[in-house]
């Protein structure tokens, strides 16, 4: 069974902390994505990557960065967490037939 695994289901961090969200896929997909999901706003694309060490900004990249050192791993970094980054974060990788999502990380910044 193919999988996208997000390392944490729930995280609580303090304002100003540097936060790392990890995502690993076992499908040898080239494209990987990070979204955040908020009530009433739907899924919003933060960053995506189409190859190792390659990245593209999505619609809301401010306050975030990403790292893709290996094909299977795509990390989202919150440089200095703020309360408005409290959200559900979803990682996905894509094939011809659409995305496979991870289970999500619910991040709370206090």
């Amino acid at each position: 069974d193919v999988k996208v695994t997000q390392s944490s289901r729930y995280l609580v961090k303090r304002t100003g902390e540097k936060v790392f969200l990890e995502c690993v896929q076992d499908m040898d997909h080239e494209n990987m994505f990070w979204y955040r999901q908020d009530p009433g706003l739907g899924l919003r694309l933060i960053y995506f990557s189409y190859d190792v060490k390659m990245k593209e900004k999505g619609d809301i990249p401010e306050g975030y960065s990403v790292s893709r050192e290996k094909k299977e791993r795509f990390s989202l970094i919150l440089e200095s967490a703020s309360t408005n980054q409290t959200s559900m974060y979803l990682c996905a990788s894509s094939s011809f037939y659409g995305y496979t999502f991870g289970s999500g990380t619910r991040l709370t910044v206090v």
């Binding site: 979803l90 995305y99 289970s103």
Partner: protein
Amino acid sequence: QKEVEQDPGPLSVPEGAIVSLNCTYSNSAFQYFMWYRQYSRKGPELLMYTYSSGNKEDGRFTAQVDKSSKYISLFIRDSQPSDSATYLCAMEERGSTLGRLYFGRGTQLTVWP
């Protein structure tokens, strides 16, 4: 204007009802159309995938695409309480190599017994 519009609901129906979920879009380059289902506190999962106008059926689910009207629908027959979830439509442009999808905001569906 958002590229993909979807009524967020919520939609509440009795068990056994026929459910109709809809999305409209403005980008004529969209060629691939998907429906995802998302249970509470889970990631979305692919439910239906289609790339041509017309209907595609899979069990109790039918996906319908009308490219001339830029309108897609998902029909659920004989709805069950286990169908209670948020349904997201998604679209991809023709010729896209990066695989980026454009999502609707999702429709929350509750099927009560």
